[in-house]
Symmetry: C3
Subunit: 312 residues, 3 copies
């Protein structure tokens, strides 16, 4: 399901693409409306390409002027298929974090993922696969003034992997100064059904202990299977012209960045229900409702979110 439009001459091929995500969201804290807004969530363009047989690159940036996302040079000349990636890129940590924002089934990632998520990071990463296993090891700097350095590593294994079923297991560890965490991943998809869970335990950059988990399940009424490749899930691609419909639910508990439901960075419990309509492989509409409660203060929060998404 390659995205973007590919053009080619004798020396070089380039692929152009991007994403637009607009959201309406209405959130309440203790039953008081706090946000009621229509806003750009993400607007990005990318160019990627292959250079000779051994090198490739990707440049992706936010069109609102807020900076670069992926921006890297990659060596893929090893016979055994490994790659070395140099520049701004995803750190190998977390199934939900590594699944593209175009492809996640719940519109926003879980609070524990958002707490430890660093977005893209500058560094050098080694990636490979062996049968149904993937492995990644990278050296990274954080984005602080002091540019502290560290590493992140991830290993995944899919003991079941057929056309219509996958069982995914993963473990990752990162240690970049005060930002340290261990992550455990498990997911199972069969036919139109999937379930996915992660547990993360660590200390954040501001040096606080934190741990939490989420469990997510989804069902595609129109019968498609959620695609899986290289230790990550991809977006549902409708098999008929009338599109695909998917229902999702998520339960989460523990420390996390619960700011979507106006609870901030705290220890909370929340559930989300949602519905996605994949009009075709490029257009997706989604609606989510999340409701949660702070485990200490008993503050409550909720959010209704609509998403209009086009990827090209």
């Amino acid at each position: 399901m390659a995205e973007g439009l590919k053009i080619q001459n004798s020396d070089l091929n380039l692929q152009f693409g991007g994403r637009i995500q607009y959201d309406y969201n209405r959130s309440e804290e203790n039953n008081q409306v706090d946000e009621d807004d229509f806003n750009l969530r993400r607007g990005r363009l990318f160019v990627k390409g292959n250079i000779s047989e051994n090198w490739s690159f990707k440049t992706q940036f936010n069109v609102d002027g807020s900076g670069a996302e992926d921006l890297y040079l990659r060596y893929n000349g090893f016979d055994s298929g490994q790659t070395i990636t140099i520049g701004n890129q995803n750190m190998p940590f977390g199934l939900e974090e590594l699944t593209s924002s175009k492809d996640i089934s719940v519109l926003e990632r879980s609070a524990i993922t958002e707490l430890f998520a660093v977005g893209k990071a500058e560094g050098i990463q080694f990636n490979g696969a062996l049968g149904n296993q993937t492995y990644a090891l990278g050296l990274f700097t954080d984005n602080d003034v002091d540019s502290e350095k560290g590493f992140a590593a991830r290993y995944t294994f899919s003991p079941v992997k057929t056309q219509s079923s996958v069982l995914h297991l993963g473990v990752a560890y990162k240690n970049i100064s005060d930002d340290q965490a261990l992550g455990l991943e498990a997911a199972f998809a069969t036919g139109p059904f999937h379930i996915q869970a992660e547990y993360t335990d660590g200390t954040t950059e501001s040096n606080n202990d934190a741990s939490g988990y989420y469990v997510q399940a989804g069902y595609i009424f129109t019968g498609e299977t959620r695609p899986y490749k290289g230790g990550k899930f991809k977006r549902v691609s409708p098999s008929s012209k009338s599109g695909a419909w998917e229902a999702v639910a998520r339960y989460e508990d523990g420390d996390g960045n619960h700011s979507d439901i106006e609870l901030g960075t705290t220890d909370a419990t929340a559930y989300t229900i949602g519905l996605n309509y994949y009009a075709n492989k490029n257009v997706r509409l989604g609606i989510n409702y999340t409701d949660g409660e702070d485990n200490n203060s008993n503050d409550t929060g909720n959010e209704l979110r609509l998403r209009f998404q086009v990827t090209f």
Copy 2:
């Protein structure tokens, strides 16, 4: 007169393009030189495309890092040709405002248009056409911190519309919290001649009453007719290899943003004369002289402006 370069594969077509506008401007306030400068006026790139039969999108951004312009997803799957556009887009208000900066005959829009112009706004808009009529209704948020919501609507009618003549009438109303206005539009083009006028009355976002109007006329020596489509004018496209020449004049009176001639937001009277050279359908050179006087303080201001424009 489609702009940009179109490339296509089996699933997707993308169109790439942009504009560069550089201006030299020299302005005086009470006969004292205030600005004497050569500067970028606009530098933008866009990507737009069609996705299946029913969906399209546009991403346009300023290459100087100052942010996105158009950034929207559009549904155009209605049999009767209407569209729904979701995201950052033009608000349906004002003939001069809705005519692209690439296509306006006077280099800068009138003071009353600039007072009420909001640039692009985030929202959802419904557009349609019926014979020689166009209609648009949109819900928008303003760009303030409080994200106030409101609507804008526009209706246009062209009782005359032939190959070489058009009579355009339009009315628009917007109400987004304190930003409220009624706009009336009239224009007539026949052969190489056109005349165009707008009157706007409302209250601005800072809650001030304001009203004003402009009348503009133009004549194309080389005989082309100013193109008109979908309730808007387009740029003159030269019919011969030696290009097209157009003379324009504008008179304006009333409240407005008269900052180009250093009078600021006030009640003033101003006239502009100008000359455009359309070297081909992509390159346009223009020169304008504007002279005005504050209706209350009798302060005077003027501006000489040269423009170098390429659109691709």
Copy 3:
């Protein structure tokens, strides 16, 4: 050695391309580590194109949101091959400054070049060539608030210019308010060897007298010749699939911006040694070591720099 990918329809051709440069650099001031960092050095995309026979344009911007680089409209309709360029562009001053950052043999330009370098500037420039001579004259504004205007001019002559040898001589002068300088350039390349030197004397924008020079030499083990065209050098293009290797050395003395080796803007002496590997015409890896001493304070500084570069 055209870069970028060219696509074309009947009216228009566009060329897309860009560069990514990531650097690791470790610098010391008086033997204390001051920087030890992996960072984006440059990430740019460009679109350029031809419009009819007489006009062209270029738009180049930084994908991190830090703004536009080249952004100009060019008239190239003179029979004798001269061009007029309007917009943001290179000022005609300095051999090293005018050689693209993709193409310089030492990873960073010399301290005297960096002191007087203005990057891109807004203005109008006239360029031409006559046999082995090139000439350029431009009017520019500086980037200060007061937008002071001035001019820059450059003349180059290549008394020797064969397939494998070039002798280059150049002189340039610029005078934009307090930013005034005279620059002298000389370079000789024959087979795999090149030597290049510049002397600059002037006053900086902050109105300080400054003068300095550098001498640089390089040798390409794999036998290629450093390309030269239009009064500038280009990047080494490997003649075999296994790439090209180049050793470089530079000695510099005098006033300059010596901040790479943590000495700041001062009078210093420094030498650099380096090695480049051109994997193919798009990928270049480089390593440099620079060591210097302040001529007055005897402070010392050094830097180790690695570069990963892809151009497309």
